[in-house]
């Protein structure tokens, strides 16, 4: 009996990790504790790192190791640490009253995931790695968006933006064997880091001005 070929193993592993990412995303949507949210995001990013690592290992693409390393340092260690510190400093640990309650959000996200799978179906032939990775990537983007407008705390919105970015990265991995060109990856990576820093500062400013980090209060700025 022949064992599975390395390509099959890698495909299986990638599918597994991608599915894990989706699971963490859905957990993020129902979870209200900010600190737990950050950890869930870190875990999701870790799965992304693993996917990059698997690709690099099975396909001998050494530069993808660099991508994996950057993701590990940035999204698994640095950004969660930064956000963690902010949450502790501000001292607000829970998201109150999202737009939609947990069951409704769950249902809606289920629908969005379904939609993404349908939309991605014509492209499954183009996927080189894993099954339905593109579908998962798109559902990460859509649910990330939903998360962004469902929550009011700036921190959660930052997290949501980061999960959208994870989705984009996953799509890039799924459609092109070795990810996007390195330069583009680096660009996106620094973009995200800078965006998070800026948003982090903004969170402080909002809190200073409105004694809260509820972004829906920003409409008081309207003239």
């Amino acid at each position: 009996m022949n064992g599975p070929t390395p390509a099959e193993i890698s495909a299986q592993l990638i599918t597994f990790c991608a599915a894990g990412m989706l699971v963490f995303q859905l957990l993020l949507i129902v979870q209200r504790m900010l600190l737990t949210n950050i950890r869930l995001f870190a875990l999701q990013s870790f799965l992304l790192t693993s996917i990059a690592g698997i690709i690099a290992y099975f396909h001998n693409a050494t530069h993808v190791y660099l991508v994996a390393a950057l993701t590990l340092i940035g999204k698994v260690v640095f950004l969660p640490w930064l956000l963690d510190r902010q949450v502790r400093r501000i001292g607000i640990s829970q998201e109150i009253e999202p737009l939609l309650n947990a069951p409704a959000s769950m249902l809606l996200c289920g629908g969005l995931t379904l939609l993404s799978y349908i939309v991605a179906r014509p492209f499954t032939a183009l996927e080189r790695l894993g099954n339905n990775t593109l579908g998962i990537a798109m559902s990460l983007v859509l649910t990330g968006f939903f998360l962004m407008f469902n929550r009011r705390k700036a921190i959660t919105q930052v997290l949501a933006l980061l999960t959208v970015e994870n989705g984009v990265m996953l799509a890039a991995v799924a459609l092109t064997t070795y990810g996007m060109p390195l330069v583009v990856e680096l660009g996106i990576f620094f973009d995200v880091v800078v965006a998070v820093m800026v948003l982090g500062i903004l969170v402080y400013r909002i809190r200073d001005s409105f004694a809260s980090m509820d972004t829906s209060k920003l409409n008081q700025l309207k003239g």
Binding site: L99, F145, R152, S216
Partner: protein, 682 residues
Amino acid sequence: MNELSATLLPCALWTYLAGMVGAVLFQRAERLANGIGFGLGAVGGFCGILAFATALATGAAAVNQSFDLFPSLIPYVRFSIRADALGCFFGLMVSLLAVAISIYSLGYARGYYGHKNVGVLAAFFNLLLLATTLVFLADNAFFFLVVWEIMAFCGYALVSFEHEKEESRSAGVLFFIMSHLGTGCLILGFLLLFQASGSHGFDSFHALGDQMPEGRRNLVFLLFLFGFGIKAGMIPLHIWLPAAHPVAPSNVSAFMSGVLIKTGIYGITRVCFDFLGSPPNWWGVTVLALGTVSAVLGVLYALMEHDLKRLLAYHSIENIGIILMGLGASLMFLHSGHPVLASLALIAGLYHTLNHASFKALLFLGAGAVLHATHTRNMEELGGLAKRMRWTALFFLVGAVAISALPPLNGFVSEWLTYQSLLQGFGTTPSLIRLMFPLSGAMLALTGALAAACFVKAFGITFLAQPRSDHARHAHEASWPLLGGQAILTAACVFLGLFPTAFLKLLDPVTQQLTGRQLSAQLSAAGGLALSSGTAQGGMVSTPGITLMLLGLLPLPLVLWLVFARKARTRPGPTWDCGLRGLTPQMEYTATGFSKPLRMIFKALFRPRREVQREYDFSPYYARTIRFESHVEEMFQTRVYRPFNLAVLRLSRRLRALQAGSLQAYLIYIFITLLLLLLFAL
């Protein structure tokens, strides 16, 4: 293009650039900045005159070479220049005004010492000169649009140069908005041309219209007419012009009125005669009709003004109308297959372009000198300046005679040519549309008469009689640079009026390029001393002859006196007082009073409104105070632009509901858009 002009042309361009850089560098030392900036502007203009005049004088074949201004760093973008005949002609106009206005500015800018940054004024002025020259020389659509925008930007900066005044700021913004509206149309037009030719070089656009589908070609025509019409100040797109010209520094108003609005004329000529091939009849009819409307309405509104510079600004609209009449008639002749008449009408239009540049700039410089001396533009506060500013008055009078199209000056020559082409147009086509020609000829006559009335008012109220205010009473003659600038333009007006046949030779390459005919030999009669209309039916006129006749008539009063009145008793006394002593300024005719009859005749157009408030103790005949207010309605302002503005505001107020200011709402907008796009992809 011969050796001389090939070296002088880049010389002129780099000199303008040097003037700009120099003025910025030395802006702390305002005298130096003034000298360097405007001095180099004048030098550059002088080089330009030599370059363009020699290029045109050596003939059509010599005037068509292109070269790159500097090597491009961006792929597909070339900053290439082509000095063809049409470009050279307009370039000549810029250079002439550059010399005169730069010299004038050397004196005028002194008025800003100490409270405004003269270096910035000079720098923007030089950049404007450079950009305008390049607009006429640009050889591809991309480069054209770049310099066109630089020109508009400089215009904006200069209009709002005295930005501490609310009036200047709002005029600048209006200019900016209208200008961009026009540029938008130009970009669309060029894109359509680009689509048809596959390249953005102007040589690839040549006669391109013949290969385009009819609808597309008409769309291109309308886009360009709208875009360039805004810059030209054609009615009904003129509203920025009477707002912007008066508030700009006078040297800038002179340049804007003289050259900047002519870039619109250049564009229309370039597009209609060069790019779009043989024109359908309605193009010519449209241009002719718009020209006629602009001419008549422009002069009518000018009559109602008593702000000297606003009056001149409205006259620019009138003259743009006259130029457009020439161009429109030319297009109609091209359609009906009369290339000689088409060339005649084109010559009339282009000649009037140059003439208007010289006399209108002269008048604006004169108005600037008056403003410089009296600090007011309101004619009701002027008067009696002829005794205090002799030279300025003389120059202004020459300009006024020229713009009123009185022989023997240049305005007469070009309007005479326009009449000739219009009157002969009646026989060119059997269709009813030929009624356009005599009709617009009659309107041109009306315009000329009204313009003369208007300048009787402008000159009479400003320079004659007694001063109406202390400002006018204490005015002094302008300094020599101010007079020098005006003298150059006065000389140009006289030369262009007295020796048109000599000048028409320079237009030969232009008509050769655009209509394939050269008319200067046909137009010159009696050894170049008389101007004929080039065809058997047309007339003939000689401005030198008229001048000699006028000079001959000068001693007539003396002769009459010698013959009839030598024996009569004479008693010297002050003029116009009819034997009563003690004339005061209160007894003088006012500008408003002078134009009252016309205001009444054209009541339907002006809708004059007046308000009189009297305060009296026991009888209205012994009023303590009387307050009198009179307004004239600017029809397009109130009937077209204001309703449009209000509609836009209403719409935006409605759209503001979308702008909730809530981050969540914005995110939901994005999300829904994304979803819809995905579903659409399914």
